[in-house]
Protein backbone atom coordinates (compact mmCIF):
# COMPACT_ATOMS: atom_id res chain seq x y z
CA UNK A 1 0.00 0.00 0.00
CA UNK A 2 2.77 2.33 0.97
CA UNK A 3 4.72 1.37 -2.10
CA UNK A 4 1.81 2.08 -4.37
CA UNK A 5 1.35 5.49 -2.79
CA UNK A 6 5.04 6.26 -3.16
CA UNK A 7 5.00 5.26 -6.81
CA UNK A 8 1.94 7.39 -7.49
CA UNK A 9 3.48 10.38 -5.74
CA UNK A 10 6.63 10.01 -7.75
CA UNK A 11 4.82 9.80 -11.01
CA UNK A 12 2.67 12.80 -10.14
CA UNK A 13 5.71 14.84 -9.20
CA UNK A 14 7.48 13.74 -12.30
CA UNK A 15 4.50 14.69 -14.41
CA UNK A 16 4.23 18.15 -12.96
CA UNK A 17 7.91 18.97 -12.94
CA UNK A 18 8.18 21.48 -15.73
CA UNK A 19 11.22 23.26 -16.97
CA UNK A 20 11.60 26.62 -15.30
CA UNK A 21 12.55 28.18 -18.57
CA UNK A 22 9.29 27.09 -20.15
CA UNK A 23 7.14 28.61 -17.45
CA UNK A 24 8.66 32.08 -17.28
CA UNK A 25 6.09 34.86 -16.93
CA UNK A 26 3.32 32.31 -16.46
CA UNK A 27 1.22 31.67 -13.42
CA UNK A 28 2.56 28.94 -11.16
CA UNK A 29 0.78 27.37 -8.21
CA UNK A 30 2.19 26.18 -4.91
CA UNK A 31 3.37 22.61 -5.01
CA UNK A 32 4.77 22.69 -8.50
CA UNK A 33 8.30 21.58 -9.04
CA UNK A 34 10.47 23.33 -11.55
CA UNK A 35 13.52 21.96 -13.25
CA UNK A 36 16.52 24.12 -13.73
CA UNK A 37 17.82 24.44 -17.28
CA UNK A 38 20.66 21.96 -16.86
CA UNK A 39 18.31 19.20 -15.88
CA UNK A 40 16.04 19.33 -18.86
CA UNK A 41 17.75 16.69 -20.93
CA UNK A 42 15.57 13.64 -21.01
CA UNK A 43 13.49 14.80 -18.10
CA UNK A 44 10.99 17.03 -19.78
CA UNK A 45 7.49 15.84 -20.54
CA UNK A 46 7.88 13.50 -23.43
CA UNK A 47 11.50 14.46 -23.90
CA UNK A 48 10.60 15.88 -27.27
CA UNK A 49 12.52 18.61 -28.96
CA UNK A 50 16.18 18.96 -29.73
CA UNK A 51 18.75 18.39 -27.12
CA UNK A 52 20.15 21.69 -26.04
CA UNK A 53 23.68 22.00 -27.25
CA UNK A 54 26.10 21.73 -24.39
CA UNK A 55 29.10 23.91 -24.88
CA UNK A 56 30.76 22.75 -21.73
CA UNK A 57 30.32 19.17 -20.72
CA UNK A 58 29.85 18.16 -17.15
CA UNK A 59 27.03 18.76 -14.76
CA UNK A 60 29.08 21.03 -12.56
CA UNK A 61 29.19 23.78 -15.10
CA UNK A 62 26.13 25.62 -13.83
CA UNK A 63 26.70 28.52 -11.53
CA UNK A 64 24.81 29.27 -8.38
CA UNK A 65 21.14 29.75 -8.96
CA UNK A 66 19.39 31.96 -6.47
CA UNK A 67 15.84 31.07 -5.60
CA UNK A 68 14.06 34.17 -4.40
CA UNK A 69 10.80 34.81 -2.62
CA UNK A 70 8.06 32.31 -3.35
CA UNK A 71 10.43 29.47 -4.19
CA UNK A 72 12.17 26.86 -2.15
CA UNK A 73 14.91 24.38 -2.78
CA UNK A 74 13.72 20.82 -3.04
CA UNK A 75 16.61 18.55 -3.80
CA UNK A 76 17.87 19.72 -7.14
CA UNK A 77 14.65 21.39 -8.13
CA UNK A 78 12.73 24.46 -7.19
CA UNK A 79 9.49 24.10 -5.31
CA UNK A 80 6.90 26.82 -5.67
CA UNK A 81 5.37 28.02 -2.41
CA UNK A 82 3.33 31.06 -3.51
CA UNK A 83 1.03 31.55 -6.44
CA UNK A 84 1.98 34.19 -8.94
CA UNK A 85 4.04 34.73 -12.04
CA UNK A 86 7.46 33.17 -12.30
CA UNK A 87 10.17 35.67 -13.08
CA UNK A 88 13.80 35.32 -13.96
CA UNK A 89 16.71 37.69 -14.04
CA UNK A 90 19.88 36.95 -15.93
CA UNK A 91 23.10 37.31 -14.01
CA UNK A 92 24.72 40.64 -14.73
CA UNK A 93 28.37 39.93 -14.18
CA UNK A 94 28.21 36.33 -15.29
CA UNK A 95 28.56 34.78 -11.87
CA UNK A 96 25.89 32.26 -11.14
CA UNK A 97 22.82 31.18 -12.98
CA UNK A 98 20.55 34.09 -12.30
CA UNK A 99 17.64 34.64 -9.99
CA UNK A 100 14.21 33.04 -10.12
CA UNK A 101 11.32 34.33 -8.08
CA UNK A 102 7.55 34.41 -7.94
CA UNK A 103 5.85 37.75 -8.32
CA UNK A 104 2.95 37.34 -5.93
CA UNK A 105 0.52 39.72 -4.34
CA UNK A 106 -0.06 40.11 -0.66
CA UNK A 107 -0.88 42.70 1.93
CA UNK A 108 0.66 41.12 4.99
CA UNK A 109 4.34 41.92 5.40
CA UNK A 110 6.88 39.43 6.71
CA UNK A 111 10.11 41.05 7.91
CA UNK A 112 13.08 40.33 5.70
CA UNK A 113 16.65 41.23 6.46
CA UNK A 114 17.87 44.27 4.59
CA UNK A 115 14.47 45.69 3.75
CA UNK A 116 13.84 49.39 4.29
CA UNK A 117 10.55 49.90 6.11
CA UNK A 118 8.50 52.60 7.74
CA UNK A 119 7.68 51.87 11.35
CA UNK A 120 5.66 53.58 14.06
CA UNK A 121 7.21 53.86 17.50
CA UNK A 122 4.83 52.29 19.99
CA UNK A 123 6.86 52.10 23.16
CA UNK A 124 10.07 53.26 24.74
CA UNK A 125 11.53 50.83 27.21
CA UNK A 126 15.00 51.31 28.64
CA UNK A 127 17.47 51.37 25.80
CA UNK A 128 15.26 50.26 22.98
CA UNK A 129 12.22 51.46 21.12
CA UNK A 130 9.47 49.12 20.07
CA UNK A 131 8.50 49.83 16.48
CA UNK A 132 5.42 48.48 14.78
CA UNK A 133 6.31 47.44 11.23
CA UNK A 134 3.21 45.51 10.31
CA UNK A 135 4.66 42.10 11.03
CA UNK A 136 3.73 39.58 13.68
CA UNK A 137 5.92 41.21 16.32
CA UNK A 138 7.03 44.76 16.91
CA UNK A 139 10.66 45.26 15.92
CA UNK A 140 13.19 46.54 18.41
CA UNK A 141 15.31 49.58 17.64
CA UNK A 142 18.19 50.50 19.88
CA UNK A 143 18.69 54.16 20.66
CA UNK A 144 22.34 53.85 19.64
CA UNK A 145 21.37 52.85 16.13
CA UNK A 146 21.05 56.42 14.92
CA UNK A 147 23.70 58.52 13.31
CA UNK A 148 25.74 60.40 15.87
CA UNK A 149 23.99 58.83 18.83
CA UNK A 150 25.96 58.14 21.97
CA UNK A 151 24.99 57.26 25.50
CA UNK A 152 24.92 60.92 26.44
CA UNK A 153 23.52 62.16 23.16
CA UNK A 154 20.21 60.38 22.75
CA UNK A 155 18.13 60.72 19.60
CA UNK A 156 14.98 62.74 19.82
CA UNK A 157 12.38 60.03 19.24
CA UNK A 158 8.94 60.05 20.82
CA UNK A 159 6.17 57.52 20.90
CA UNK A 160 4.12 57.90 17.75
CA UNK A 161 6.99 59.04 15.53
CA UNK A 162 7.57 57.54 12.11
CA UNK A 163 10.89 55.84 11.54
CA UNK A 164 12.49 54.83 8.25
CA UNK A 165 14.99 52.08 8.90
CA UNK A 166 16.22 48.69 7.76
CA UNK A 167 16.25 45.26 9.32
CA UNK A 168 19.45 43.68 10.55
CA UNK A 169 17.85 40.61 12.07
CA UNK A 170 14.67 39.19 10.61
CA UNK A 171 13.91 35.50 10.75
CA UNK A 172 11.07 33.38 11.96
CA UNK A 173 12.77 32.43 15.21
CA UNK A 174 13.73 35.78 16.59
CA UNK A 175 12.22 39.15 17.21
CA UNK A 176 13.08 41.45 14.32
CA UNK A 177 15.64 44.16 14.97
CA UNK A 178 16.05 47.29 12.95
CA UNK A 179 18.54 50.12 12.75
CA UNK A 180 18.64 53.57 11.23
CA UNK A 181 22.23 53.55 10.07
CA UNK A 182 24.05 51.59 7.41
CA UNK A 183 27.11 49.42 7.89
CA UNK A 184 29.42 52.46 7.75
CA UNK A 185 27.54 54.30 10.46
CA UNK A 186 25.96 56.88 8.15
CA UNK A 187 22.26 57.64 8.18
CA UNK A 188 21.67 57.52 4.41
CA UNK A 189 18.26 59.11 4.75
CA UNK A 190 17.09 56.78 7.51
CA UNK A 191 15.85 57.93 10.88
CA UNK A 192 12.84 59.87 12.04
CA UNK A 193 10.58 61.08 9.24
CA UNK A 194 9.62 64.70 9.62
CA UNK A 195 6.48 66.44 10.68
CA UNK A 196 3.09 66.43 8.95
CA UNK A 197 2.36 64.32 5.96
CA UNK A 198 0.12 61.28 5.69
CA UNK A 199 0.83 57.58 6.18
CA UNK A 200 -1.29 55.02 4.42
CA UNK A 201 -1.10 51.36 3.54
CA UNK A 202 -1.06 49.64 0.17
CA UNK A 203 -0.26 46.15 -1.07
CA UNK A 204 3.31 44.98 -1.23
CA UNK A 205 3.16 44.38 -4.96
CA UNK A 206 2.26 48.00 -5.62
CA UNK A 207 5.28 49.22 -3.69
CA UNK A 208 7.55 47.09 -5.77
CA UNK A 209 5.91 48.28 -8.94
CA UNK A 210 6.30 51.89 -7.91
CA UNK A 211 9.93 51.41 -7.00
CA UNK A 212 10.81 49.75 -10.28
CA UNK A 213 13.40 51.71 -12.22
CA UNK A 214 11.10 52.60 -15.10
CA UNK A 215 7.95 53.50 -13.25
CA UNK A 216 5.73 55.87 -15.20
CA UNK A 217 3.41 56.58 -12.31
CA UNK A 218 6.12 58.26 -10.30
CA UNK A 219 7.36 60.26 -13.23
CA UNK A 220 3.89 61.62 -13.84
CA UNK A 221 3.25 62.25 -10.18
CA UNK A 222 6.49 64.14 -9.89
CA UNK A 223 5.36 66.61 -12.50
CA UNK A 224 2.23 67.65 -10.65
CA UNK A 225 3.55 69.69 -7.74
CA UNK A 226 6.41 69.67 -5.22
CA UNK A 227 6.07 66.71 -2.93
CA UNK A 228 7.96 64.20 -0.88
CA UNK A 229 7.27 60.46 -0.67
CA UNK A 230 8.79 57.72 1.43
CA UNK A 231 8.13 54.08 0.47
CA UNK A 232 8.40 51.31 3.03
CA UNK A 233 8.67 47.74 1.82
CA UNK A 234 6.10 46.78 4.41
CA UNK A 235 3.35 48.33 2.35
CA UNK A 236 3.39 51.76 3.98
CA UNK A 237 3.75 55.00 2.09
CA UNK A 238 4.22 58.44 3.62
CA UNK A 239 3.47 61.48 1.50
CA UNK A 240 3.77 65.15 2.10
CA UNK A 241 2.90 68.15 -0.04
CA UNK A 242 2.44 71.84 0.58
CA UNK A 243 -1.28 71.77 1.35
CA UNK A 244 -3.51 69.16 2.89
CA UNK A 245 -5.59 68.90 -0.24
CA UNK A 246 -2.58 68.12 -2.41
CA UNK A 247 -1.47 65.48 0.07
CA UNK A 248 -4.85 63.83 0.00
CA UNK A 249 -4.98 63.87 -3.78
CA UNK A 250 -1.59 62.23 -3.90
CA UNK A 251 -2.61 59.55 -1.42
CA UNK A 252 -5.74 58.78 -3.40
CA UNK A 253 -3.85 58.50 -6.66
CA UNK A 254 -1.29 56.13 -5.24
CA UNK A 255 -3.93 53.94 -3.67
CA UNK A 256 -6.00 53.84 -6.83
CA UNK A 257 -3.04 53.07 -9.06
CA UNK A 258 -3.29 49.49 -7.99
CA UNK A 259 -6.37 48.83 -10.05
CA UNK A 260 -6.19 51.35 -12.84
CA UNK A 261 -5.03 50.73 -16.35
CA UNK A 262 -2.55 53.03 -18.00
CA UNK A 263 -5.25 54.90 -19.93
CA UNK A 264 -7.37 55.62 -16.89
CA UNK A 265 -4.30 56.88 -15.14
CA UNK A 266 -3.44 59.22 -17.96
CA UNK A 267 -6.99 60.57 -17.93
CA UNK A 268 -6.83 61.31 -14.25
CA UNK A 269 -3.48 63.00 -14.53
CA UNK A 270 -4.62 65.18 -17.38
CA UNK A 271 -7.68 66.21 -15.41
CA UNK A 272 -5.49 67.06 -12.45
CA UNK A 273 -3.10 69.03 -14.55
CA UNK A 274 -5.93 71.17 -15.80
CA UNK A 275 -7.36 72.00 -12.42
Amino acid sequence: MAEAAAVVAESLAGYRARAARAVLEQVVLPGEELLLPEQEDGEGPGGAGERPLRLNAGARSRGRVVCGPGLRRCGDRLLVTKCGRLRHKEPGSGSGGGVYWVDSQQKRYVPVKGDHVIGIVTAKSGDIFKVDVGGSEPASLSYLAFEGATKRNRPNVQVGDLIYGQFVVANKDMEPEMVCIDSCGRACGMGVIGQDGLLFKVTLGLIRRLLAPDCEILQEVGKLYPLEIVFGMNGRIWVKAKTIQQTLILANILEACEHMTADQRKQIFSRLAES
Partner: protein, 160 residues
Protein backbone atom coordinates in the same frame (compact mmCIF):
# COMPACT_ATOMS: atom_id res chain seq x y z
CA UNK B 1 73.13 1.78 45.39
CA UNK B 2 71.05 4.15 43.36
CA UNK B 3 73.44 4.11 40.44
CA UNK B 4 72.97 0.35 39.94
CA UNK B 5 69.39 0.44 38.96
CA UNK B 6 67.37 3.22 37.40
CA UNK B 7 64.82 4.68 39.72
CA UNK B 8 61.37 4.26 38.31
CA UNK B 9 60.13 7.71 37.43
CA UNK B 10 56.45 8.40 36.78
CA UNK B 11 55.17 9.10 33.31
CA UNK B 12 54.21 12.65 34.17
CA UNK B 13 57.71 13.38 35.35
CA UNK B 14 59.14 11.96 32.18
CA UNK B 15 56.87 14.18 30.15
CA UNK B 16 58.30 17.32 31.66
CA UNK B 17 60.47 19.50 29.50
CA UNK B 18 63.72 19.14 31.45
CA UNK B 19 63.52 15.37 31.27
CA UNK B 20 63.02 15.37 27.53
CA UNK B 21 66.13 17.30 26.65
CA UNK B 22 68.22 14.23 27.05
CA UNK B 23 66.04 11.95 25.06
CA UNK B 24 66.63 11.17 21.45
CA UNK B 25 64.10 12.02 18.79
CA UNK B 26 62.54 8.59 18.57
CA UNK B 27 61.56 8.35 22.15
CA UNK B 28 60.31 11.90 21.97
CA UNK B 29 58.05 11.04 19.08
CA UNK B 30 56.73 8.03 20.85
CA UNK B 31 55.90 10.03 23.92
CA UNK B 32 54.15 12.62 21.82
CA UNK B 33 52.04 10.06 20.08
CA UNK B 34 51.00 8.51 23.30
CA UNK B 35 49.96 11.88 24.62
CA UNK B 36 47.94 12.64 21.53
CA UNK B 37 46.19 9.32 21.77
CA UNK B 38 45.19 10.00 25.32
CA UNK B 39 43.88 13.45 24.46
CA UNK B 40 41.97 12.40 21.37
CA UNK B 41 40.35 9.52 23.18
CA UNK B 42 38.97 11.94 25.69
CA UNK B 43 37.28 13.99 22.98
CA UNK B 44 33.61 13.26 22.40
CA UNK B 45 32.32 12.42 18.97
CA UNK B 46 29.04 11.47 17.40
CA UNK B 47 28.73 7.83 16.59
CA UNK B 48 26.72 8.42 13.45
CA UNK B 49 27.47 7.35 9.89
CA UNK B 50 29.14 10.12 7.98
CA UNK B 51 26.59 12.07 5.98
CA UNK B 52 28.09 13.66 2.95
CA UNK B 53 26.50 17.03 2.34
CA UNK B 54 25.58 17.46 -1.25
CA UNK B 55 27.04 20.50 -2.82
CA UNK B 56 24.00 22.51 -3.64
CA UNK B 57 23.95 25.06 -6.36
CA UNK B 58 20.76 26.68 -5.27
CA UNK B 59 20.79 29.48 -2.73
CA UNK B 60 17.64 30.60 -1.00
CA UNK B 61 17.04 34.31 -0.53
CA UNK B 62 13.92 35.87 0.84
CA UNK B 63 14.61 39.43 -0.14
CA UNK B 64 13.17 41.17 -3.16
CA UNK B 65 16.04 43.62 -3.38
CA UNK B 66 18.20 40.95 -5.01
CA UNK B 67 15.61 40.09 -7.60
CA UNK B 68 14.45 43.44 -8.83
CA UNK B 69 16.54 46.59 -8.99
CA UNK B 70 14.44 48.77 -6.80
CA UNK B 71 15.05 52.46 -6.42
CA UNK B 72 15.78 54.14 -3.15
CA UNK B 73 12.69 54.47 -0.98
CA UNK B 74 12.82 58.18 -0.21
CA UNK B 75 11.91 60.53 -2.99
CA UNK B 76 11.33 64.20 -3.38
CA UNK B 77 10.10 66.04 -6.46
CA UNK B 78 10.41 69.61 -7.62
CA UNK B 79 12.68 70.65 -4.82
CA UNK B 80 10.40 69.96 -1.92
CA UNK B 81 13.22 68.54 0.19
CA UNK B 82 16.67 69.28 -1.25
CA UNK B 83 18.51 66.88 1.04
CA UNK B 84 16.36 64.00 -0.10
CA UNK B 85 16.91 64.94 -3.72
CA UNK B 86 20.65 64.85 -3.16
CA UNK B 87 20.30 61.48 -1.50
CA UNK B 88 18.23 60.20 -4.41
CA UNK B 89 20.99 61.04 -6.84
CA UNK B 90 23.59 59.50 -4.62
CA UNK B 91 21.81 56.24 -3.91
CA UNK B 92 20.50 55.65 -7.38
CA UNK B 93 23.86 56.42 -8.85
CA UNK B 94 25.41 53.95 -6.47
CA UNK B 95 23.13 51.25 -7.80
CA UNK B 96 24.05 52.01 -11.36
CA UNK B 97 27.75 52.21 -10.52
CA UNK B 98 27.70 48.74 -9.11
CA UNK B 99 26.62 47.37 -12.44
CA UNK B 100 28.77 49.52 -14.67
CA UNK B 101 32.48 49.54 -14.08
CA UNK B 102 33.86 52.70 -12.59
CA UNK B 103 35.44 55.19 -14.90
CA UNK B 104 38.69 56.87 -14.00
CA UNK B 105 38.33 59.57 -11.42
CA UNK B 106 38.72 63.04 -12.85
CA UNK B 107 41.45 65.04 -11.24
CA UNK B 108 40.60 68.44 -9.93
CA UNK B 109 44.23 69.52 -9.82
CA UNK B 110 46.77 68.30 -12.34
CA UNK B 111 49.91 66.50 -11.24
CA UNK B 112 52.25 69.29 -12.30
CA UNK B 113 50.44 71.89 -10.34
CA UNK B 114 50.47 69.59 -7.35
CA UNK B 115 54.25 69.17 -7.58
CA UNK B 116 54.73 72.90 -7.86
CA UNK B 117 52.59 73.55 -4.84
CA UNK B 118 54.47 71.04 -2.78
CA UNK B 119 57.78 72.58 -3.69
CA UNK B 120 56.83 75.93 -2.29
CA UNK B 121 54.87 74.41 0.55
CA UNK B 122 57.91 72.75 2.04
CA UNK B 123 59.64 76.09 2.36
CA UNK B 124 56.64 77.89 3.78
CA UNK B 125 55.95 75.37 6.46
CA UNK B 126 59.64 75.01 7.22
CA UNK B 127 59.84 78.75 7.76
CA UNK B 128 57.09 78.55 10.32
CA UNK B 129 59.09 76.21 12.49
CA UNK B 130 62.51 77.76 11.95
CA UNK B 131 64.03 79.84 14.69
CA UNK B 132 64.30 83.62 14.29
CA UNK B 133 67.94 83.45 13.31
CA UNK B 134 67.29 80.91 10.60
CA UNK B 135 64.36 82.75 9.14
CA UNK B 136 66.79 85.16 7.53
CA UNK B 137 68.03 82.34 5.33
CA UNK B 138 64.71 81.98 3.71
CA UNK B 139 64.42 85.36 2.16
CA UNK B 140 67.62 85.41 0.21
CA UNK B 141 66.64 83.98 -3.10
CA UNK B 142 65.84 86.49 -5.84
CA UNK B 143 63.36 84.52 -7.87
CA UNK B 144 60.82 84.50 -5.16
CA UNK B 145 61.09 80.80 -4.53
CA UNK B 146 61.90 80.04 -0.96
CA UNK B 147 65.15 78.15 -0.69
CA UNK B 148 65.66 75.55 1.97
CA UNK B 149 67.58 76.35 5.07
CA UNK B 150 71.34 76.84 4.82
CA UNK B 151 73.91 75.18 6.97
CA UNK B 152 74.27 76.66 10.38
CA UNK B 153 77.25 78.87 11.12
CA UNK B 154 79.54 77.18 13.54
CA UNK B 155 82.03 78.84 15.82
CA UNK B 156 85.32 79.47 14.01
CA UNK B 157 88.36 79.36 16.09
CA UNK B 158 90.56 82.41 15.50
CA UNK B 159 93.84 81.54 13.91
CA UNK B 160 96.10 83.51 16.19
Amino acid sequence: MAAERKTKLSKNLLRMKFMQRGLDSETKKQLEEEEKKIISEEHWYLDLPELKEKESFIIEEQSFSLCEDLLYGRMSFRGFNPEVEKLMLQMNAKNKAEEVEEETVELDVSDEEMARRYETLVGTIGKKFAKKRDRANYEEDENGDIKPIKTRKMFLKPQD
